[in-house]
Symmetry: C2
């Protein structure tokens, strides 16, 4: 049986790690403040698919206490990726692979530097879940993962062996996590960005939930225009995304339950927003490929202004 | 002596009309709720150039009581331009001219329909003033006007005779209002929009004063990018604006006193914002001329969403 280290037991990591552990996988959870609570009371997941409690999870407060593992799942916010240089090395053996379950573009780059080329997978997660208390996750909707090899910042890294991908897909599937392998992770990332960029961005800038954005003709049209801008950026970067994907996303969003984007939750809670991963990296890639991506850039700059977790000095004058 | 009708005795109209009346011009003020207060206590202007009180101004509650005038100054917000069809006709004789002192592009169009081609002037006003109470204006800074013939929506209307422009410039100058004639009103309008579009828009969307926008590197850079977008739109519409104007505006804004844009004051007070005049008309003109103006359009759509004075139904869900 392969072993999993789970870095970041929050809304996403707690949910997926909980399901893997429930299915009998050997999962080692890195936690922060929750570790004592979970050791005493277990990890609790309230899910639309059924609630469960894991009374005995392997919970750690530090990577130095953890064993090396075959798979390291990175389920931190990408804003914490600078900490990976300290967190990852103690968990790796000579054949470990990393699975980066984060939003955005090139969020795997830091992990690849540490773990090595051809050893990193990325996962696009479509999940609505919240952490509602210490060691307590609430799963609201969805949960599927698109998993693929990370090909590196320049697209030249070797693929992760099929056998490895197959093994992960097997383990996750047994754990009832809907997972699919993709041979083009970057395209999947861009397709997800076509939703995340307009709705994460506008929900913070306009202080609005997805349904409020969809219900006003101006913001709905703007969301569509931003989607088209992201699609143009993806095309400039060599990824084919059919025009119809815009209409599909709009249609999909129309039928979503009223939902606060993760970026809006971060913003309202005073946490850093994933501006770098979701906005700045795509803009950089697009502009390097010759497309200006003006809509994405307006949102990025507005979010950087609104971000109160950095540049606090320059914001005091407002 | 020529007679002036002043439509809209607010921060701008009260200031300019007050100065004209103080200089001995025959000015007839249309007021709303302030008319009784002004009849009893006069019109008060506190100005950086010297305070004054006009105990006896010709104040009216309705255009039906007013005489026809040689010049009709339109100093309403452009959001009230639909009311001009009722307000203007009773004030016009066969040789009246109208002076539209409003922000934005083609704000003169409605007036031209009523007053006639070749009879409408537009003025770009650079003025910081507030209305602080009934019949009480506070002038903070600036005050100069660029005055020119309105050439119509298609640029084909005849010029207002030089003698008329000369007379107005003379009257205003005598009243110590810094005024200059321009032979290209549209270019002056676009140059002013290069400031108004970024700073009116961002101040509402980011809930920030001009100095806060200037003090954060992201919003400052965004303001510059928006200025360049407005310049490209102007160029598409055939107006030459030198590249250096961007740097000059940024430099100028750096040295401004912390200032709340008129649009932000309108927004905070729950009044309609001049989105149509300052954003939608320039976008329409630019796109008709073949330039998409993406930066302006993002701001426009965001402002339309934030505008709580219309579409109130669709906003209730937020």
């Amino acid at each position: 049986m392969k072993s999993y280290a789970l870095i970041g037991t929050g809304a996403l990591g707690g949910f997926y790690g909980g399901l893997l552990a429930k299915a009998g996988c050997d999962v080692h959870f890195l936690m922060r403040s929750d570790v004592e609570h979970v050791r005493q009371h277990g990890l609790r997941v309230d899910s639309v698919n059924g609630d469960f409690l894991l009374p005995n999870v392997k919970a750690y407060a530090s990577v130095s206490e953890m064993p090396v593992c075959d798979y390291v799942i990175i389920a931190l916010k990408s804003t914490q990726n600078t900490s990976l240089a300290l967190l990852l090395p103690p968990l790796l053996h000579s054949d470990s692979h990393a699975i980066v379950l984060q939003n955005g573009l090139h969020v795997e780059a830091k992990t690849e530097e540490i773990v090595g080329k051809g050893r990193v997978l990325g996962g696009c997660c479509f999940l609505c879940s919240n952490k509602v208390g210490p060691g307590h996750i609430r799963h609201l909707d969805y949960g599927n993962i698109l998993l693929g090899s990370y090909k590196g910042p320049d697209g030249n890294s070797p693929n992760v062996p099929d056998s490895v991908i197959h093994e992960i897909v097997n383990d996750f599937s047994k754990a009832t996590i809907p997972i699919e392998a993709t041979d083009n992770l970057q395209r999947s990332r861009w397709k997800k960005l076509m939703w995340n960029i307009p709705f994460n961005g506008l929900s913070v800038i306009l202080n609005a939930s997805t349904d409020a954005i969809m219900n006003h003709p101006a913001s709905r049209q703007l969301a569509e225009q931003i989607m088209r801008d992201v699609r143009q950026a993806a095309i400039a970067c060599g990824e084919t995304i059919p025009e119809e994907h815009v209409a599909q996303l709009i249609e999909h969003t129309e039928h979503m339950v009223p939902y606060d984007s993760s970026m809006r939750l971060d913003f309202l809670a005073g946490r850093p927003m994933e501006i770098e991963a979701i906005f700045s990296n795509p803009i950089r890639a697009s502009q390097a490929a010759g497309y200006a991506a003006p809509f994405i850039e307006v949102l990025q700059k507005q979010l950087l202004f609104l971000d109160r977790t950095t540049d606090s000095e320059s914001c005091e004058t407002s």
